[in-house]
């Protein structure tokens, strides 16, 4: 291969580029990224960065040594299509830029935040995925402001925790009866669900959001747009940037209305795979839909020769889950690329971490550090092997058919770490 294009310039993309050079690839290496920013670290965006304890420079993922990688950066350029090049190799079309031709492709386009379905664009409504998202949200997290967080998953919980520290009035709305019961199980979901209330966050569980309440009625928005269309600079309504003005609150499915100055929607992610439509790539959906991620082997191979995929946009069979899963864990985006590029280059896989291959994530919320490895299934048996659950300081092991399949730790990194290593060694 003469030229390899890495599509995606976040952790998985950068890790792929580094791994390609480590594996001895000396050809032209192009890294395409939709965002204008140099690769940065996302986990702090809901924690220290959002709290103002870190600045943009603290998020940098690249180090000076990366200059030696001799990468051709194409930042701020969004991939629009992947198609075969006559005679072999691929062409990657870019929105508004010249296409890139290459012999091999690493797909690492990640995922984006899911929006509330059907919601109009309102100022004061945020999702949190990118640095720009975090900067916009941070600017609005002022003490005393009323924040409604829609979605009690990890991102929502972390944002609520950070906002509470910053002195906002925080309400968390979660559709499920117990937030985090999905990934952790009912017992531990309930323990974590009790934390926000203890810390002064108002929690409304088991209720959905029906709509966002805009400052402008449809009629007002129409009049404003009509006035603009006819050259009137200032109509009889305030000049708002977005369709419905500013958010005033959240209307719940049961009819309740929550007033809000700021709303954050944390209801999951969607893999960035639309650009691959028509590429011939098979997705992980039941009928091969790419909306469930690009289907890969555990080693990163796709159904197309010379194309591998890695990170949040890829889905593969997990022995921990017993099914095909699109893991969005940070450590997967860090470690899996080395495997994927060795597949692309057809070279032996490099030495992997002692715990590579075990799904792993962490979360910092309300002063607690949670670590989880493996995959929980409803019905798994749970045993507390260390510490005290009531003290929020424990390690729990999940077993399926007697075999450990997952481990959860809060404030017990050493014992947790041993179990994580044991999970990696098993199977």
């Amino acid at each position: 291969m003469q030229t390899i294009a890495v599509v995606g310039a976040s952790l998985a993309g950068l890790s792929s580029a580094r791994a390609l050079r480590t594996a001895g690839f000396e050809g032209r290496l192009i890294v395409i990224g939709e965002e204008k920013h140099d690769p940065y670290d996302r986990p702090p965006l809901s924690k220290d960065f959002l709290a103002g304890r870190q600045e943009v420079a603290d998020l940098r993922l690249t180090i000076p040594r990366d200059a030696d990688l001799n990468l051709e950066w194409r930042l701020g350029e969004k991939a629009a299509a992947l198609r075969p090049r006559p005679g072999g190799g691929y062409v990657i079309d870019l929105e508004g830029h010249d296409p890139v031709e290459c012999d091999g492709v690493v797909i690492a386009t990640g995922a984006r935040a899911r929006q509330l379905p059907g919601a109009v664009r309102l100022r004061g409504v945020h999702t949190l995925r990118t640095l720009d998202d975090a900067l916009a949200l941070r600017a609005e997290l002022v003490p005393g402001a009323r924040l409604v967080v829609v979605g009690g998953g990890f991102i929502g919980a972390e944002i609520a925790s950070t906002a509470r520290q910053l002195g906002l009035q925080v309400t968390l709305v979660e559709l499920a009866r117990t937030a985090l019961a999905g990934p952790l199980g009912e017992q531990f979901g309930a323990i974590l669900a009790a934390l926000p209330a203890d810390r002064g966050v108002s929690v409304l569980a088991g209720v959905g959001v029906s709509s966002l309440i805009p400052s402008l009625s449809h009629e007002q928005a129409f009049r404003r747009d009509h006035a603009r269309l006819h050259g009137v600079e200032r109509a009889n309504v305030h000049d708002h940037e977005s369709e419905g003005g500013r958010v005033l609150g959240v209307r719940l499915a049961d009819g309740r209305e929550l007033p809000a100055d700021v709303v954050v929607v944390g209801i999951g992610s969607i893999p960035n795979t639309e650009w691959l439509a028509g590429s011939g790539l098979i997705g992980a959906g039941p009928d091969g839909e790419l909306s469930a991620g690009v289907r890969i082997t555990p080693e990163g191979a796709t159904n197309l020769p010379g194309v591998v995929a890695t990170g949040d946009c890829a889905a593969t069979h997990s022995r921990f889950a017993g099914r095909v899963v699109r893991y969005e864990h940070w450590t997967n985006a860090l470690q899996h690329p080395a495997l994927a590029v060795s597949t692309l280059l057809a070279v032996p896989a490099p030495r992997q971490s002692a715990v590579a291959g075990v799904p792993y994530f962490w979360s910092d919320q309300y002063g607690l550090r949670l670590q989880f490895a493996g995959h929980y299934h409803p019905g798994d048996e749970v045993e507390i092997v260390e510490g005290d659950v009531t003290q929020h300081n424990f390690v729990a092991v999940y077993r399926r058919d007697g075999e450990p399949v997952a481990v959860l730790g809060i404030g017990q990194p050493r014992v947790f770490g041993r179990w994580r290593k044991q999970l990696a060694a098993g199977g």
């Binding site: 180090i63 000076p64 030495r351 971490s353 002692a354 715990v355 962490w362 990194p413 050493r414 770490g417």
Partner: protein
């Protein structure tokens, strides 16, 4: 300043111990019979490297976010850490391990 770590027999190969007697916590590792000491706290975020994963090649992986460091040099060898941890000399006397932690005698954090 010489800090007593533990008896040699109490730190088997592949294991690590954290000592809190100095100005900052220090992690001491037994890598195939040879002892190495580094600052215990990962330079990326607050996590104990003594709790991390020690590889045969002298790499220690942070148990929290998987940053890797070379025990012998303290340099980061895998992201997200970008700054080195300090290394400290280790001496063994009469079957006991000691770490030398004179701040002036240690290598300051190096950027790579």
């Amino acid at each position: 300043m010489l800090i007593k770590v533990c008896a040699v027999v109490d730190l088997p190969a592949g294991e690590a111990i954290r000592i809190d007697e100095g100005p900052v916590p220090i992690a001491v590792f037994n890598l195939a019979g040879k002892f190495y000491a580094i600052d215990d706290t990962c330079t990326h975020q607050d996590a104990s490297l003594a709790d991390g994963y020690l590889e045969d090649d002298g790499t220690v992986e942070c148990p929290l976010h998987a940053s890797c460091f070379d025990l012998r040099t303290g340099r980061p060898t895998g992201p997200p850490a970008v700054r080195a941890v300090r290394t400290h000399p280790v001496v063994v006397r009469d079957g006991t391990i000691f770490v030398v932690t004179d701040d002036a005698a240690t290598v300051p954090g190096i950027s790579v």
